[in-house]
């Protein structure tokens, strides 16, 4: 362990910890827009600069390791001046449409501008303007709002390992885009939406949650029903209705990661096509039935088949959407109750 002092508070941190992490663990919030402990270091936003006694240079706390005896100050006048300037520079090159921005209320840039009192971008010059890319069904990309923190690039490369997007061009004209600057769509992207979660601004938006203000929803943690992996996420509930999904970083299995199904297909819950009652075909027509009636019918037919033609006349196909325990019970049922080894699984091949 290493002992150091941050803002007058003596703290201990594990060797190899970044100052920013050590501060966070001790309730000291150093601002950053590009740091994410799950991703490789980037050091692009420069907002996490701090002063360390004995050095006349500012250092970035996201990429400097704690050292024994270090004395760190995180909100000195010099540091605050630099942060204000950086936020001013970012906001000067940003569409000032926070009033109608989907991200408003949970935007990293907005939060920090609020914290450091940036009302307006004071540099009046060129402002980037890109067309909104919205051709795919699940996400909308507005590069005019991108602050080039590179989180989406890193999450795509390092967590999803897809490398759909990267930086192109240089300097002021840098942007994050796909190969040949194509729109993001099924042919170049897995639509996992990890980048949406990573993005601190309104540059990447989940279309499903458009029109819903972040503070209007109640978050209800649940386990994804789509497969047996057991990912957790938060159902976003507005007026008693599930309107979408956001990841919950505390999820033990998946952290912030989700797949395309988990992230976007909560819409089946309120779908008109959803079957909520069993149907039995009578005289060529599906007729609503009770669960009791339906299950009895199925059990009778299976029993009849087994007794008449033997167990091997039946086969069971289970699903990757079931957990291991369910699959175990299912094969047990096939072997013991039906007396057959005809049991298989949709994800076998």
């Amino acid at each position: 362990m290493v002992k150091l002092i941050i803002n007058g508070k003596e703290i201990e941190a594990k060797e190899g910890t970044f100052i920013l992490e050590a501060a966070r663990e001790n309730g000291i919030d150093i601002p950053t827009l590009c740091y994410d402990k799950e991703l490789t270091n980037f050091g692009g936003c420069r907002l996490c600069v701090v002063e360390v006694e004995g050095s006349n240079k500012l250092i970035t706390s996201c990429s400097s390791l704690v050292k024994e005896g270090m004395v760190v100050h995180t909100e000195t006048p010099k540091v605050v001046k630099i942060r204000k300037d950086i936020l001013d520079l970012l906001y000067s090159n940003h569409p000032k449409d926070c009033l109608t921005c989907e991200k408003s209320g949970e935007c990293g840039l907005q939060d920090l501008c609020y914290r450091y009192g940036i009302k307006d971008g004071s540099y009046k010059g060129e402002v980037k303007k890109y067309a909104i890319d919205s051709i795919n069904p699940v996400m909308e990309r507005d590069q005019s709002k991108c602050i080039l923190c590179g989180k989406c690039v890193r999450v795509c490369a390092e967590i999803q390992v897809t490398n759909t997007i990267d930086f192109t061009d240089r300097g002021f004209n840098s942007k994050v885009t796909t190969e040949f600057d194509n729109p993001i769509d099924r042919h170049n992207c897995r639509m996992c939406g990890q980048c949406i979660t990573a993005c601190p601004t309104g540059a990447l938006i989940n279309k499903q949650l458009k029109g819903i203000r972040p503070w209007e929803v109640k978050k209800v943690r649940t386990t994804c029903p789509f497969c047996g992996t057991g990912c957790n996420f938060d159902l976003n509930v507005k007026n008693g209705k599930v309107v979408g999904v956001t990841p919950n970083p505390d999820s033990p299995v998946n952290g912030k990661s989700l797949c395309v199904k988990g992230r976007y297909h909560s819409d089946f819950i309120n779908s008109e096509d959803r079957l909520i009652k069993p149907l039995i075909k009578k005289n060529g027509e599906f007729v609503e039935a009770s669960w009791e009636e339906a299950l009895t019918l199925v059990a009778d037919k299976l029993k009849h088949t087994r007794d008449t033609y033997g167990g091997d006349a039946i086969t069971g196909l289970s699903s990757a959407r079931c957990v291991n325990e369910d699959n175990f019970v299912f094969q047990k049922m096939m072997r013991v109750a039906f007396g057959t080894n005809n049991v298989d699984h949709c994800a076998r091949t």
């Binding site: 936003c45 420069r46 840098s174």
Partner: protein, 529 residues
């Protein structure tokens, strides 16, 4: 296999051939101690170490190089010196990196030497991206073997077996000559496996850069070699510990490597006798701009600027007044005329707000506008910023916009203070050297030529008469009414009767200067004001 004897034999056989050729050409003096130097006034005040073979040997001939004691230092060290001793000598020589920052090479090597790992790398930074700089190019094109030898010595000292030369693709001749040199060295057994039978392996490969200035920055260069986008890394670890593919890596500049073999040939004491205590040796400069004799000059560190500009460069062109000299390229600063006696070494330049940089030296005369010069360099950095970090990507752009505003005559009260404050943010918060030094041209010109900024902003005048938006062409009463200017004016905004004084309509004038050129020299009635 190559042996020491064979190496000496090559020298013995080939040296007379070289000397005969040089005597015939007649552009060199061959001294008794064996040294060969270019003759002529331009070289009199120069001391050539890094450039010592340039213009003398044939770069395509390894025998030529061996004839001027090439590879003798490397061979000698392999047999007679331990790695630790080489590092110690390097440190004692206090050779400082010629790529810009002036970091002591010995200390850098020592870090990689001490750090244990199964693979280490030597990299030569031949990206030379500063506009107007061509020192490294000259070495690579004219004496490629000395760079290979410097790298091989470094490789042996730190325990690296693989070297890479990162050379910009815009230097096709350098690339070609390096390829030939590497081939020759391998063929002879100077590079490759089991060099001179000592068991030491060292190979060198080329990697071509595609012209991004930022790829000269060490960590961006490494990213680029690794096949990634050339963006600087965060500096969590030293490159000497975790560099290329996270292995201990030494990056040195071309000119730095060119110094290495000579230091070991002639000794640490000899090297330290040249230059200053803190900056020993020489430095190559690309002397350009409004100077009579532009070119590459190599002088001992500590030589006053005046001697370089006047004694070697022959002073300012066309007898104009000397105004300033810009050192260090886009990362450097402008030094005003009153500081022309400043000695040129790392410390002295830093003290007056400039840097040595890689050795660009642009001379400016009285007609150079200092605001416009700052704008010129900022324009370059804005183009070349990699875009990774906010202060550099957004800040330099805003700085350029402010400078544009000033040179266009739209500057406002407070703009200077704004630039100074913005410069502070860009300098102290940028990730890499590019951003950290990008404001130097602005801060030094504001520091030394604040009155010029004020003249632009308050009086809407460009004292140097160079900013088009702030000057007008005017016809004085010397006009003889010949009408030549009116004919030359592309927008026909000059009126006047024949044999009477003509007048320019300032509203219509596009400030192309055609009238001034058209006015007969004997008359010279058109002036800029």
């Amino acid at each position: 296999m190559l042996t020491l004897d064979k190496l000496q034999q090559i020298k013995k056989e080939h040296r007379p051939v070289l000397e005969a050729r040089l005597r015939e050409a007649g552009n060199v003096d061959i001294h008794e101690d064996g040294s060969i130097v270019l003759n002529g006034d331009y070289y009199k005040k120069q001391v050539r170490i890094a450039l010592k073979n340039c213009g003398i040997i044939n770069p395509g001939s390894i025998e030529d190089y061996i004839s001027v004691d090439g590879y003798s230092a490397f061979a000698n060290l392999l047999f007679n010196k331990s790695r630790a001793d080489i590092i110690e000598d390097m440190t004692a020589s206090n050779l400082r990196g010629r790529g810009g920052a002036g970091f002591p090479t010995g200390r850098k090597w020592a870090e990689a030497f001490k750090y244990d790992d199964d693979q280490k790398y030597m990299i030569c930074n031949a990206d030379e991206g500063d506009p107007g700089a061509f020192m490294d190019r000259s070495i690579l094109e004219n004496d490629p073997h000395c760079v290979l030898e410097g790298m091989a010595i470094g490789g042996y000292a730190v325990g690296a077996t693989q070297g890479f030369i990162y050379v910009r693709a815009e230097y096709p001749i350098a690339v070609k000559r390096l390829k030939i040199a590497i081939e020759q060295a391998k063929e002879l057994g100077i590079l490759g496996k089991n060099i001179l039978g000592t068991g030491f392996d060292f190979d060198i490969e080329l990697r071509l850069g595609s012209g991004a200035f930022v790829c000269g920055e060490g960590t961006a260069l490494i990213e680029s070699i690794e096949g990634k986008r050339g963006m600087p890394r965060t500096k969590i670890h030293r490159t000497a510990h975790k560099g290329l593919w996270q292995k201990p890596t030494i990056i040195n500049n071309v000119e730095t490597y060119a110094n290495v073999p000579v230091i070991f040939q002639r000794g640490v004491d000899w090297f330290r006798s040249i230059g200053t205590e803190k900056s020993p040796g020489t430095k190559v400069f690309a002397l350009v701009g409004k100077v009579e004799k532009a070119g590459l000059v190599e002088v001992p560190m500590g030589m006053p600027l005046r001697e370089i500009v006047y004694d070697i460069g022959g002073g300012v062109q066309n007898g104009k007044a000397f105004k300033a000299v810009q050192t260090g390229g886009p990362s450097g600063g402008c030094i005003p005329a009153e500081l022309i006696d400043t000695p040129v070494d790392f410390e002295s330049l830093a003290k007056i707000g400039s840097i040595m940089g890689s050795g660009g030296m642009v001379v400016m005369d009285e007609n150079t506008c200092m605001v416009d010069i700052a704008r010129f360099f900022l324009d370059f950095t804005v183009e070349e910023s990699c875009g990774k970090c906010v202060p550099c990507r957004e800040g330099t752009k805003r700085m350029l916009e402010l400078l544009d505003k000033v040179v266009e005559g739209n500057g406002e009260e407070g703009d200077i203070e704004r630039m100074v404050s913005l410069a502070d943010t860009i300098t102290s918060a940028s990730l890499c050297g590019l951003g950290q030094t990008a404001s130097n041209p602005v801060t030094t010109t504001i520091h030394y030529f604040r009155n010029e900024y004020e003249a632009h902003i308050k009086d809407h005048k460009c004292p140097a008469g160079s900013c088009a938006a702030l000057l007008e062409y005017f016809i004085t009463d010397k006009c003889i009414g010949c009408g030549k200017c009116a004919k030359a004016c592309p927008v026909s905004c000059i009126s006047g009767k024949l044999k009477e004084r003509h007048v320019i309509d300032q509203e219509q004038c596009i400030k192309c200067g055609a009238c001034m050129e058209a006015c007969p020299p004997k008359v010279s009635a058109v002036i800029k004001r």
